[in-house]
Symmetry: C2
Subunit: 229 residues, 2 copies
């Protein structure tokens, strides 16, 4: 049986840039579950139609197909209880949801303006129109007009990291001594950025930068080879 993870990819199949797919890649590695990451492009709706979802990540685990990163993470925890825990118990799982919503609603919105034109530059040729049109509709302006002042946006982005920074000043991972799914959630954003842009996001002495290095050092072999900007 091959475990299959459909992952958003760019023109280069090894450029995987969805933060939500990264969460699941890290979660599978955390659990020690071997898998094949299959590159998927925005416009390949038919390829995942069997899942009932039009977005990745989609995980095919034997007879089971699961979509949506939060649902997949909960599925992995329930299905593989003897593998290292992604959550550390039901109460920690409940608290991780707050961090997930913080990532989705605060961290990503601060980061995406810095990445939009870079993403457009790396998506597959057949995805370019879709990406431009869908994002321009979302932001109500041309891709190139979303971030008129990247330096100011970078400052705003770094400011949103304050609770993360303060936490990582006192402990090596959000999960304490070792990473939990909460760490993978946040690391997904940094791997998203790293896969499309060479812009330095963090000051070298930022505790978040040291944590990111710790997380990078734990990447599985199959992830290390994936293209970074």
């Amino acid at each position: 049986m091959t475990r299959l993870l459909y992952e958003l990819a760019g023109a280069e199949p090894d450029r995987r840039f969805s933060p939500f797919c990264w969460r699941i890649r890290l979660a599978l590695e955390h659990k020690g579950l071997p898998f094949e990451g299959r590159p998927w492009r925005f416009t390949e709706r038919e390829a995942i139609a069997f899942s009932g979802s039009d977005k990745v990540p989609v995980l095919v685990d034997g007879a089971r197909t699961i979509a949506d990163s939060a649902v997949i993470a909960a599925y992995l925890e329930e299905t593989y209880p003897d593998a290292p825990s992604l959550f550390g118990g039901p109460q920690a799982q409940a608290l991780a949801r707050f961090i997930g919503h913080w990532a989705d609603g605060v961290l990503h919105p601060a980061l995406v303006p810095l990445l939009l034109t870079d993403i457009h530059g790396v998506v597959a040729p057949q995805d370019r129109d879709y990406f431009r049109q869908s994002r321009e509709a979302r932001f109500g302006k041309a891709l190139e007009a979303v971030c008129p002042d990247p330096e100011a946006q970078l400052v705003a982005f770094r400011r949103t990291l304050s609770p993360l920074r303060a936490t990582l000043r006192a402990q090596p991972f959000l999960g304490g001594d070792g990473p939990l799914y909460a760490d993978h959630i946040v690391m997904g954003a940094f791997l998203w950025a790293r896969s499309v842009s060479a812009r330095p996001l963090l000051e070298p002495d930022d505790p978040v930068a040291a944590w990111r290095e710790r997380m990078l050092a734990r990447l599985g072999e199959g992830s290390r080879g994936l293209v970074a900007a």
Copy 2:
């Protein structure tokens, strides 16, 4: 043995308005530990000098004296392991730190401009000069100039609640089925506001408002009688 919690109070001794003291009041109730809350004012430094701290909360628990809400919460969990857990395990305790830093660094700064002049109106007469001078030094302007547009500040405050709101849309408490110290951290901010200001902070249909009601309904008898604005 009387367990004693020194709590910041206003001119009325039953007006307890420190968010950090509320965290510990809720934690003690959560643990089912009886205590006496002793009113303390900003300028009563000598009264708590024995603790080595110049700020409350200070807890005197038999022969032990502990200051700082985070340290007290960890102490209570360690010292009373058989009472209901404040954290739900070490990993959840690690994640709760993120929520604590989010409250301290994002939630409180969005709320305090709305409350400053109200607080000045309720502090004890001997605390008034101290409060004005220390806060004006911190903000670099007159108390009355810190929040020139309360309506805009209220909108900004509500926006900071987005990860809390999204989480509470899916589960009754931050801790899941029941409250944890993470809930007490955030509730401390709402009890702070409630103790000094009658301004409605939340739309009635906000999931955060329903959670606040659930938290209020769980207040211990000794806390229900405390003065609200």
